[in-house]
Symmetry: C2
Subunit: 454 residues, 2 copies
C-alpha cells in the first residue's frame, strides 16, 4: 500500500465550510473595493528572482521559495562551484524563478511594465496567495492570501480619507467593532528632529506604548536605558503623556513640534484626514496614535492600523503612504497609499464572534431523498424546476438507506429534505421535511418551491 | 538605472478588464456548481513531490516545477552524486516540494487525508492555478487556472446526468451555443473486443473521426495501415458509418456489440444518460460520438467533451467517469465522475463572440471631477451618500486639468461624470454628464442618484 499522503508543513487544505467563509470575507472586501473604484489585477505566482531578490532584506531573500530551473539545471556550473556547496550563491544558478513573497513588489513590477496602458491614478486591488519559507508556527503559514488595495500616482490626501472609509465600511459589513489607528511618519520624524535622536524613533514609540502598563517613571527609565539623554527625555514628556481627543492631541503636537517643518506637515496631514473622515461620518473609532510605527522603513506619510475591539488578536488590517513604489525598477516618483486586510486573522475574528451570516455558506437548500429509479425519475423534473428558480438543490444520487441519506443532509446542513415514495407519487406531491424544526408536510411541487424560497 | 523588469515566460499579468471578464466566467460557473450542490475546496499550491511524482507519466514528471529546499539544500548529497550531474535523479534530493500540476491528484490526496470528515458522495469543485514547465506557445501557458467539478463515492448515473445539465446551464448562461459530445469507455472496449484488437482502439477512433474529411475508403485504408486485419475492418463498417439520431446509433450498437458484455453495458449507460437528459430538456445539442477518446487511460465509463458551435477552437470543457481516484494513495474503490471547464478557451470564445455583459465589468459608475479643495469638500458628502446607495463611485483625487480627469473617466469607461464648480455649489446642485450621449444636466444630489441608478 502507498504511504499515507501529507501536505508540506506550513500549508493548508481549505474544506468547503472554510472556503465558504473565506469567500464571504473576500467577496465583502471586494465589493467595497469596487464601490470605491478599485480594480482587480492578478500577477503570476512565479516572478523572476531578479525581480524579487534584494527587495525584502537579506532575511527576506532567504525566505523566498525558489523554483529549480527545468531541464539540466547543472548547466553552466563548474565542478569547483558545485563542490563549494555554497547554497546561497548557487541558488541563483540553479533557480531563475521564485514564488511571490508579497503583493507589493509584483505590483510595482506590474506598474512599471504596464505604465503606458495604465490611466493614473491607478486604483488597484489584488487578492492572491504569497509564499514565505518562514518557520511554521501557530497562525503563521508558508502559503497565505494577501488582500491589498493601493492607489498610486496621486499625492492627494483624499486617498487616505477613502482608505479609512473603506476600512470602516468593510468591518461595518462584517459587524466587527474596530479602532482605526492613524499615525504619520512625518510626525515621528519631527519628534526625532526636536530631540536630536533620529535613530531612536522605534525605541521611543515602543517605550511610549508601554505607558499604560508600566507607568511614566518606567517609560522614562526605559528611554534612558536606550541611551536617550535626559534633556531629550524631558522634551518628550508632553508626547509621552499625549492624551485627550484627536483635536487636543493635534493642538499639543503643534506646540511641541513648532520648530520642525516635517513634524508640522505631519500634523497638518493628520488633521485633514481626521477632520474629513469625521465630517463624513465613519462608524468606527478613529484615533491618532503616535506609538503606531509599522513599516517605518517604507512609509513616508500616513500610517494605518486596525485593531478589533472585541477579540484579543494582533492588527487585522494596516497600511500607509509611500513615496516611491517603483524606484527599485528604475521608475521614480510613483507615490501611493495602500491598505492590506489580514484575511487569516479576520477569519479568526469572525469565527470567535460567530459573525458569519447563514447565507454566506452558500450550501444546498434542498435535498431530494432517493428511494429508487422510479422515485428518482419522478423527482428529477421537479428538481430541475426548483433549480431553474434559483434554489440550490440536489438529489441523493444513490438509493442508499434512508439513514445514510438523512446523515448526508445533516452533514451538509441542508435545511429542507423532500421525500417521495409510492403515496407521494400517486398524489402528485412530495413530503417536505424542515430539518431545523423536524416538521413534515405534504406539498405540491409549487408549494415546495414557495416554502424553500421563503 | 535598474533593468526593465519582465515576467517568466509562459506566465501572464491580468489587467483589470481581463480580471473582470475572468471573474464573470468563474462566478457564472461557480453559481451553477452551487446550484447543483457542489462545494468548493482549495489545496496548497505546493505538494510534496512524493504526492506528485509518478502520477503523470515520465513526461509529466519532467514538467513539474520543483521547489528548492530551504536552507542547505546540499545536505545529504555526496560529492560523487554532485559531480554525476544527474539532474533528474538529484532533483528529488534538492527538492521535496513541487507546484501542483493539475487539480485531480491534489483532490485525490485531499479525499484520502480527509476521508473521515467527508460526507460521501462528495461533490467538490476547485478553481485554482496549476503549473507546467511546458514549452510556452500560443494559448499554452506555464501557469493557468483549472476549474473542476467532481463527485466521488457514487456510481449512480444521475451524476453524469447532472454534469450534462451543468454544462448546458453554464454555456446557456454565457450565451454560447455548444455541442455536448458523449461517449463511453465501455463501448470502445466492446468494439475492441468484437474485433479482437484491444490495443488499437485509439487508432480506430482517430481513423473514424476522419470519415467526413477523407471518405470511407481512405478510413479503411488507414485502419489497414495500422495493422488491423481485413476481417476486423469488415466488422467495423457499421461503426464507422454509424449515423442518425442518438437512438438510432444506440440501436445499431446494440446489434453490433451483442456479444460484448462491456459494450452492451456502455450502450445501456449511454442510453440512460441521453434519455434522462433529453427528458429533462437541456438546450444544447447532446450527441453520442464514438470518436471521442479523451483520457482513455483514466476514464472507465462516460466521457464528455464540449465544442463551441460558433467559434473554431478545441474543446472548451470535458470530463468523464473514473473507477479509482485514490488508489495511488492506498484507498481503493473511490469512483467518481467529473468535468473541467477550460477557462482560457472560454475567455477567448466569449471575446470572439463579444458575449460579456456590460455589468460583468463591475467598473466605476460615477466620477466626481475635482476642481479644488472647496469643490471636493462639497462633493465628498454626496459621494459618500451615493456609495451608501450601492453606486460604485469615486472622486478624482487631485485637482488636475479637466482634460486629464475626463481622460481618466474615458479610460475607465465610467458612464457618468459629476462636475461641480462655483455655480453648482451656489445652487446646491451638480452638473451630470452622460459620457455615452454627451448630454449634460443640472441636477440635485437626489436626482443624480436616480439617474445613475436607473
Amino acid at each position: 500500500m502507498a504511504a499515507k499522503p501529507g501536505i508540506p508543513k506550513g500549508t493548508r487544505d481549505f474544506s468547503p465550510v472554510e472556503m465558504a467563509k473565506r469567500n464571504y470575507i473576500f467577496n465583502t472586501i471586494r465589493d467595497v473595493f469596487h464601490l470605491f473604484g478599485y480594480q482587480q489585477i492578478e500577477t503570476p505566482s512565479m516572478e523572476n528572482l531578479s525581480t524579487l531578490m534584494g527587495k525584502y532584506g537579506d532575511e527576506g531573500d532567504k525566505l523566498l521559495f525558489k523554483i529549480q530551473n527545468s531541464g539540466d539545471y547543472f548547466n553552466g556550473i563548474t565542478d569547483e562551484e558545485l563542490l563549494s556547496r555554497n547554497a546561497v550563491k548557487l541558488a541563483s544558478k540553479f533557480c531563475e524563478k521564485g514564488l511571490r513573497y508579497d503583493l507589493t513588489v509584483p505590483f510595482a513590477r506590474y506598474v512599471v511594465m504596464h505604465r503606458d496602458e495604465i490611466s493614473f491614478p491607478f486604483k488597484r486591488y489584488q487578492i492572491q496567495p504569497v509564499w514565505r519559507a518562514d518557520r511554521p508556527q501557530k497562525g503563521r503559514y508558508r502559503e497565505f492570501y494577501q488582500c491589498d488595495a493601493d492607489v498610486v500616482g496621486s499625492n492627494s490626501l483624499l486617498n487616505e480619507v477613502e482608505l479609512v472609509q473603506m476600512i470602516d465600511r468593510v468591518f461595518g459589513k462584517f459587524g466587527v467593532r474596530v479602532s482605526i489607528k492613524i499615525n504619520n511618519r512625518k510626525i515621528l520624524t519631527g519628534i526625532a528632529e526636536i530631540i536630536g535622536e533620529a535613530d531612536k524613533i522605534v525605541d521611543i514609540t515602543v517605550a511610549i506604548d508601554k505607558l499604560d502598563k508600566i507607568g511614566l517613571e518606567n517609560v522614562n527609565a526605559e528611554l534612558a536605558s536606550k541611551g536617550i539623554p535626559q534633556e531629550a527625555i524631558d522634551k518628550l514628556q508632553p508626547i509621552i503623556l499625549l492624551s485627550g481627543s484627536n483635536e487636543e492631541k493635534l493642538e499639543t503636537l503643534k506646540t511641541v513640534l513648532a520648530t520642525s517643518e516635517a513634524g508640522l506637515k505631519g500634523v497638518e496631514e493628520s488633521e485633514f484626514i481626521l477632520k474629513t473622515v469625521s465630517a463624513l461620518g465613519v462608524k468606527s473609532e478613529v484615533e491618532l496614535d503616535l506609538t503606531l510605527a509599522r513599516g517605518l522603513n517604507y512609509y513616508t506619510g500616513a500610517i494605518f492600523e486596525v485593531k478589533a475591539l472585541d477579540v484579543q488578536i494582533g492588527s487585522i488590517s494596516g497600511g500607509g503612504r509611500y513615496d516611491n513604489l517603483t524606484g527599485v525598477f528604475g521608475m521614480d516618483g510613483m507615490s501611493g497609499v495602500g491598505i492590506s486586510f489580514g484575511a487569516d486573522r479576520i477569519f479568526d475574528v469572525l469565527n470567535q464572534l460567530d459573525l458569519y451570516p447563514k447565507e454566506a455558506v452558500n450550501g444546498t437548500e434542498l435535498l431530494f431523498v432517493n428511494f429508487g429509479d422510479k422515485e428518482a425519475a419522478y423527482c428529477l423534473p421537479i428538481l430541475t424546476k426548483v433549480r431553474e428558480a434559483g434554489v440550490r438543490a440536489e438529489i441523493y444520487p444513490d438509493a442508499s438507506k434512508m439513514k445514510k441519506q438523512m446523515g448526508y443532509a445533516n452533514d451538509k446542513q441542508i435545511p429542507f429534505v423532500a421525500i417521495v415514495g409510492e403515496n407521494e407519487m400517486n398524489e402528485g406531491k412530495l413530503t417536505l421535511k424542515n430539518m431545523t424544526t423536524g416538521e413534515q408536510s405534504l406539498v405540491t411541487p409549487d408549494e415546495l418551491l414557495a416554502v424553500v424560497k421563503a
